[in-house]
């Protein structure tokens, strides 16, 4: 605290010469002048520090004690202000630099269109173009942009858009979009068709809402087989009625119904008892390089990975797009992330558990959400491979295997 005050008020380093340095100090004390860091120099003089405002009274002290003192160093805010006053342009330049930095940091240099899921229907370029119509353009300061309005504009003009959020992260503007989930084409229409099996299985239950069943419970069906036919043959013909048997034509309808069947899924998993795994350590190094026409102009950071084992990620950004005789300027950012090999000891039992878990996970990944698990079989595969545990899981489910397919 005292140091800060001294700095604000300013202090000087003086060298006192003469015989009665002690007397000088005593007189100064009596006058209430605070002197500190009094030090002997090799040449017999004494160096001390004193506050700027005490220099004038110190002259009287020097005269009284028949010493001479000389100011050798100046520290503190008053001197810096003086320095700046003398060199106004330097201060101006510093201020200008800060102002320009501030201004540039408020400009937008990049606009990215991102989405959590892969973008299917919307063209990101179109989003950018529409955003540009509302003023979200590269090279424009952020404070002139109205993100809320732009969001509304985008939502109104792109029918496939459900949600949009525009956020500024530094000099980058991110347009995050969520697309509408479009219904699969052809589901709503009334065109005739069959219900076919999209999986192999054994039928347990069949419920027909429209159409004619072609299979009955207990049947084994394979993929692609027709379960409920959209081609309805006249009933009377089956009944054996004469007369109008020819008058009724086979009718084409859109078959609908639920066909439940037993389906089996296999999952295989293995786990070594001692697992060697590559893991990221969290350490990373970046290198930046500026490319112009394929030639490296500036390179900051290491060119090769500094780690023994690492992943390398390369990002390329074009800053200035190229023209006919002017190749593009791009920045290449390389990120090296260090990896290490870790040994994980599962143990006999642990490895087995892990193998079962892996197998279950693989088996369950194939299951549709509506499937009901009836039975689960876990088998161990014993082979003369030591140090590894293998598991085979068979899951039996009951599920709807019907799928609509239009008749051509």
């Amino acid at each position: 605290m005292k140091k800060l005050l001294n700095f604000l008020l300013g202090y000087v380093t003086i060298i006192i010469k003469g015989d009665g340095v002690e007397r000088f100090i005593n007189f100064a004390i009596q006058r209430g002048i605070h002197i500190w860091d009094i030090q002997w120099k090799k040449d017999g003089s004494v160096q001390a520090q004193v506050q700027l405002s005490y220099i004038k009274p110190l002259r009287h002290v020097a005269r009284k004690s028949r010493c001479r003192f000389k100011i050798v160093g100046r520290v503190g805010l008053p001197f810096q202000i003086k320095f700046i006053k003398r060199r106004k342009m330097l201060a101006c330049g510093a201020l200008m630099f800060i102002a320009v930095m501030y201004f540039l940091s408020s400009l937008v240099f990049f606009i990215d269109v991102t989405s959590q899921e892969p973008i299917k229907y919307i063209n990101p370029q179109m989003v950018k173009r529409l955003a540009a119509e509302k003023g979200v353009v590269i090279g424009r300061p952020k404070w002139l942009m109205n993100f809320n309005e732009t969001e509304k504009y985008l939502l109104n003009n792109i029918p496939q858009l459900t949600w949009v959020a525009i956020t500024a992260k530094g000099t980058k503007v991110e347009i995050e979009i969520v697309e509408k989930v479009m219904p699969e084409p052809g589901e709503k229409d009334k065109s005739p068709g069959n219900v076919i099996a999209y999986k192999d299985g054994v039928i347990t239950e069949i419920l027909v809402m429209k159409g004619q069943p072609r299979v009955s419970p207990g049947d084994t069906v394979s993929k692609g087989e027709v379960l409920i036919s959209g081609l309805v043959l006249p009933q009377n013909e089956v009944a054996g009625n004469e007369g109008d048997s020819f008058s009724e034509q086979p009718e084409l309808v859109r078959a609908d119904g639920i066909v439940r069947a037993k389906v089996w899924y296999k999952g295989y998993g293995e786990c070594p008892i001692v697992e060697k795994e590559k893991k990221l350590t969290g350490k990373s190094t970046r290198s930046f390089s500026l490319l112009w026409g394929g030639e490296e102009l500036i390179n900051l950071g290491p060119e090769k990975t500094p780690y023994a084992l690492s992943i390398e990620e390369t990002q390329t950004k074009i800053i200035i797009p190229g023209r006919s005789k002017f190749p593009p300027v791009e920045i290449v950012i390389k990120n090296y992330r260090e990896q290490k090999i870790y040994q994980k000891k599962w143990g006999e039992e642990g490895a087995w558990k892990q193998a079962v878990q892996n197998a279950l996970m693989i088996a369950k990944r194939q299951l549709p959400s509506q499937a009901k698990i009836i039975k689960q079989d876990i088998k161990s595969i014993e082979e003369n491979l030591t140090g590894i545990k293998r598991a085979l899981v068979i899951i039996e489910t009951e599920e709807d295997i019907g799928k609509f397919l239009p008749i051509e």
């Binding site: 100090i25 605070h34 002197i35 500190w36 009094i38 002997w40």
Partner: protein, 101 residues
């Protein structure tokens, strides 16, 4: 005559210390003695001093009430000098206190 005065001074000091003992007044205040605090051999605080009479790299003499303090050492620096307190930094080897009465 001079011897008589000295005797009187001594008696007065004796009386003063006895008085302080009875009334349990802190002696440093009542007797106007210096309060000396040391931090190992690195720092020395002297409160209630009466000025510096000698200062060099290896020897400092500080006046106190009815006596003086001799400090010996290497590269002694007067860290702060104020009306009531002196702080000495450096390698302090010896302190000799001479107080009469």
């Amino acid at each position: 005559m001079k011897g008589n005065k000295e005797l009187l001074k001594k008696q007065r000091a004796k009386f003063k210390s006895a008085f302080v003992n009875i009334l349990e007044i802190p002696p440093d205040i009542a007797l106007n003695l210096p309060r000396i605090t040391m931090l190992g051999n690195l720092q020395l605080n002297i409160e209630n001093h009466k000025g510096i009479t000698e200062y060099s790299d290896s020897r400092i003499r500080i006046m106190v009430t009815r006596g003086y303090l001799d400090i010996g050492g290497n590269s002694l620096v007067l860290r702060s000098v104020q009306l009531d307190e002196i702080v000495i930094n450096g390698e302090i080897n010896e302190i000799k206190i001479t107080i009469t009465g």
